[in-house]
């Protein structure tokens, strides 16, 4: 029997440029290759030689959708390296910012990229022609997320306000009150979200993948934990590097098994942190957890979670007296090494730096999509094989649309992924 | 000088009555104000300009190329040169509404020139403001004689072809000389018909050819053309013995207001700051001598 090759030259409705190749031999899938082929951005090499303060603003350029996660992870790594203290209020603001970004990123994915799959449209613009309310809801949530990124991060995209030690300037009381009012209105309104997610079909079985997340806090932590029960403060114990000649992103494995990170891993490993509202949403939707599509349901729950958290943090902040001008935090050491682990919207993000005399000398960044790369291949593999098994024959278009849907469910961010560089 | 219109920056709405293609890059627009009162009141001196305001797109200065003797309408010759003029060429058609304010600038000192011979030296688009004087003279016989020297790259790019051909045929005290850098079909035809009036080369060559035949010593000279032209023409005119105080030229600068506020047209040095829109656009040779940077 001859080998067949089915390929998707460019994935649509994902962030960045990627393609897929599926090799089939008879009823068996021989190989699946997810190729993250966006050009290289070298963002670990570029900030070398810069003053430590300037690093978060440059590495945030890795990704526009989750720039704040990058900037915060970077700041946290630098804080560890140089023993810089962070004020409690700044920690609150960071959490608020991360939830804002989570909201923005998930809403973009769920409402604009996934919803067309559910309603069988090619994009949200077509969807808008039929159903304005759904797209408007998406815009409302994205806008709130961006507003938070603007007032705390300094700009909706690539703001420079985030520095090691906190922020250059804190948001004014006025802007906090304004966002609070908007958030209250959104939380009070009833969302279409749940109804929509109930119609989302299951696909992409994930047998064999290991879920990984940060410990300690829902959105960050000092250590990484896995569904196999392992945990470590050193990411290199949990994640093993690997280069594929066909992809620009390095992938990561855990004990030789594909790893998965993102909303699904957070929910599976850290459900206890979630609010009642988020858990209610999870419980109301029947969706098998073994499929990667469950990731989207988890994103839905995290949207609800983010709204609740944003509301409560804003309420707390509006009671505190948050003066906008702050003294610049200073480092206690001039050289050192540090890790920063964050749950970016798409999962575990690692920043690792070496600083010498306040100047960055080496950097290593591992992004969620790079970690997920192997799991994507595995999920497509499993799914296509079941498809052939069930249907007997194989329609190329079916395979393509399924594979696209499965990869989309991971919410890959290819721009992020193409910078992996392990320090040897 | 002053503002005929009430609102300083908005101008008054005017309707485009006619659009005529003069060349591939220049069009002649004939306009009339919607408000009849303004039509009757609107008065200007040749050499003055108006601001041409296209709603939502932008505004630019443009010389009036019709004559004040012909009232009720206004003619503007517009070259496609940039953002707004490109839009005008492509989208402003018969019936379109634009806003016009002005007239601005000083204009030519016609009273002083009365009954003297006048030499008009035009280069390219510089014909536009000079046409206003030409038409004025045709209607009023203001000068004793009018000599028009018009230099243009080729016949294809020549403005007001019909009118100039009529004058070439011979007209009482108006004498037309053309110079072409390239001889295309139209130019060849003109050379065949009016050999004595056509010179191959620059406008300065045409002036040179007519040395002795034109009473330069008594004439007023007025010139308008692209920035590079002035230096050479002034030199030639002085060489032909035109009196320095009788040489006039009209100049161009970037203008955002036309009324001496926006500062873009300021020229000169510490002894001689001038606004092209207020103190000009018509300047004398004396102004050029005392104001550095005026023509270069």
């Amino acid at each position: 029997m001859t080998m067949r090759k089915i390929s998707i030259s460019e994935l649509s409705r994902v962030e960045g440029i990627g393609s897929v190749e599926i090799f089939i031999n008879g009823k068996k899938v021989r190989d699946v290759r997810v190729k993250l082929i966006e050009g290289l951005r070298f963002l670990e090499l570029i900030p070398r030689g810069l003053l430590y303060k300037e690093v978060p603003g440059i590495v945030s350029r890795i990704c526009a959708i989750c720039y704040a996660s990058h900037a915060i992870a970077s700041s946290m790594a630098l804080e560890k390296a140089l023993s810089i203290k962070v004020d409690r209020r700044d920690k609150m603001l960071r959490e608020l910012l991360l939830y804002g970004e989570l909201l923005e990123s998930h809403a973009l994915h769920v409402y604009f990229l996934i919803a067309p799959d559910i309603y069988d449209e090619l994009d949200f613009i077509e969807l808008y022609k039929k159903d304005k309310s759904l797209v408007k809801e998406g815009f409302m949530l994205v806008k709130l997320g961006n507003m938070l990124r603007e007032i705390i991060g300094g700009r909706p995209i690539h703001g420079l306000n985030i520095i090691p030690g906190g922020f250059v300037k804190r948001p004014s009381a006025d802007s906090i009150d304004k966002v609070l009012e908007i958030t209250e209105n959104i939380v009070e309104s009833s969302l279409i979200l749940e109804r929509m997610l109930k119609c989302y079909p299951e696909a992409g079985p994930m047998e064999g993948s290991v879920a990984i997340a940060t410990g300690d806090h829902y959105l960050y932590g000092n250590r990484l934990i896995t569904s196999t029960g392992k945990e470590s403060k050193n990411y290199r114990v949990i994640l093993e590097e690997q280069t594929e000649e066909y992809s620009h992103a390095k992938s990561a494995l855990h004990s030789g098994r594909p790893a998965v990170v993102g909303a699904i891993s957070r929910v599976l490993l850290k459900e206890k942190f979630l609010s009642r509202e988020a858990r209610e949403l999870l419980n109301s939707i029947e969706h098998d957890q073994k499929y990667i599509t469950y990731n989207v349901i988890c994103q839905g729950a995290e949207i609800v979670e983010a709204l609740e958290r944003i509301l409560s943090i804003l309420k707390e902040l509006s009671k505190l007296n948050v003066e906008t001008h702050i003294e610049e935090p200073y480092p206690k050491k001039f050289s050192g090494e540090g890790f920063g682990y964050i749950e970016a919207p798409r999962g575990v993000l690692v920043h690792h730096y070496l600083v010498e005399d306040l100047i960055l000398s080496k950097a290593n960044i591992i992004t969620p999509t790079a970690i997920n790369q192997k799991s994507m291949e595995r999920a497509v593999h499993n799914h296509v094989e079941t498809l052939i098994f069930n249907k007997g024959s194989l329609n190329e278009n079916d395979v393509i649309s399924c594979a696209e849907q499965i990869i989309r469910a991971f919410d890959p961010c290819i721009s992020c992924s193409v910078h992996v560089c392990f320090i040897k | 000088m002053g503002d005929n219109l009430k609102n300083t920056y908005l101008g008054a709405p005017a309707r485009v009555l006619e659009v005529e293609n003069l060349t591939s890059i220049e069009k002649l627009y004939t306009l009339r104000f919607l408000d009849n009162d303004i039509n009757n009141k609107f008065n200007f001196i040749p050499g003055q300009f108006v601001m041409f305001n296209v709603p939502g797109i932008g505004e630019f200065p443009v010389s009036i190329c019709s004559s004040p003797t012909r009232t009720g309408y206004l003619q503007l010759c517009i070259r496609r040169a940039g953002r707004v003029t490109k839009y005008v060429h492509e989208n402003i058609v018969e019936g379109s509404i634009v806003y016009i304010r002005g007239p601005y600038g000083n204009g030519f000192p016609l009273e002083e020139m009365k009954n003297s011979p006048i030499v008009l030296v035009a280069g390219g688009l510089g014909m536009a403001p000079l046409r206003s004087i030409l038409l004025y003279h045709l209607d009023t016989q203001h000068f004793s004689d009018l000599y028009l020297f018009y230099g243009v790259r080729n016949y294809e790019l020549m403005l007001f072809k019909r009118e100039i051909r009529t004058l070439l045929r011979g007209y009482y005290n108006v004498h037309v000389y053309l110079s072409f850098e390239d001889i295309d079909r139209g130019a060849r035809e003109l050379i065949r018909l009016y050999r004595k009036s056509i010179v191959r080369g620059m406008v300065t060559d045409a002036l040179e050819v007519l040395r002795g035949s034109v009473p330069f010593e008594e004439s007023y000279a007025v010139m308008c053309g692209p920035p590079v032209m002035y230096k050479f023409v002034v030199k030639k005119l002085l060489d032909l013995k035109v009196r320095p105080d009788r040489i006039y030229m009209t100049l161009e600068r970037r203008m955002k207001c036309g009324i001496g506020k926006c500062g873009h047209c300021i020229v000169g040095t510490s002894t001689s700051i001038k606004y092209v829109c207020l103190d000009g656009p018509v300047f004398t040779y004396w102004d050029v001598l005392s104001t550095k940077g005026l023509i270069e």
Partner: protein, 256 residues
């Protein structure tokens, strides 16, 4: 009649594409004027015929980027470069061709990806004619809006040439450079961002790229040097976002 627009992504962070979403309510206005025929990031639609406007975001960093760019140019009447990566090359353009091999070895070790030819990040204008440029990292969504509405009306969008300082002054912000000795690239960087970073109290890092015409890099270099910053850091700062900034012989091995 509506115009046809296509958005193409080359190598970048996705921020430029995101500015479309950031148009929020104004996206409706744009959809009144344009049909979006191709936009991989948000749509599975494929319309591969001629376009009136092609928006290209990201730098040319791979063979695939170049192919996409060339076909975008061939198929479109107006080509709009969106974002600093497309206009100036972006951060990735710091790694020059001669550095490439070393950089790749440093990232991947021996097993370098072979699937596709990789270039140093390059502004798209080095390969094709660009009609409109909107720099910015990220570009301002209002700039995009203005340009798209302009183009739909048949007007050439404005091409500004003022530095960040102008907006900084208009906002009456404290000049961080002269008052606090914080390095600021505002004087040589194209304005249009409303000087957001200086409003926060940080120096401009030059993310909108250098002024289009006259830009005095040597003088800015001297200013930064007088603040006690090391030569290496200055060079890196100046070249961070734009391949167009020329530092002459200092350019080699900038990344090391």
């Amino acid at each position: 009649m509506k115009l046809k627009m296509a958005i193409f992504e080359l190598t970048g962070c996705g921020g430029c594409e995101l500015t479309f979403i950031m148009l929020n309510e104004k996206l409706e206005d744009i959809l009144e004027l344009y049909d979006i025929a191709h936009f991989k990031m948000i749509s599975s639609k494929e319309d591969l015929h001629k376009y009136d406007v092609a928006v290209v975001a990201g730098s040319v960093s791979t063979e695939r980027d170049l192919k996409v760019l060339e076909s975008a140019r061939k198929k479109s009447r107006i080509l709009l470069a969106l974002g600093t990566c497309a206009v100036h090359g972006g951060p990735q353009s710091l790694i020059l061709d001669e550095d490439l091999e070393g950089a790749l070895a440093e990232i991947y070790g021996k097993k370098v990806p072979k699937e596709m030819k990789i270039f140093a990040g390059t502004p798209i204008s080095e390969y094709v004619k660009v009609d409109v440029e909107i720099p910015g990292c990220p570009p301002e969504s209002n700039d995009l809006f203005q340009a798209l509405v302009d183009l739909a009306h048949g007007v050439v969008p404005y091409k500004w040439d003022y530095p960040v300082c102008l907006e900084c002054k208009i906002n009456e912000t404290e000049c961080v450079l002269v008052k606090r000795g914080i390095p600021c690239l505002g004087p040589i960087t194209l304005g249009g961002c409303n000087a957001v970073c200086i409003n926060l109290g940080i120096g401009c890092i030059g993310c909108r790229g250098p002024l289009p015409e006259d830009v005095n890099i040597p003088s800015e270099y001297e200013i930064l040097k007088s603040l006690g910053i090391s030569e290496k850091t200055i060079k890196r700062k100046l070249r961070m976002f734009s391949k167009r900034v020329s530092l002459n012989d200092h350019e080699k091995n900038l990344y090391k």
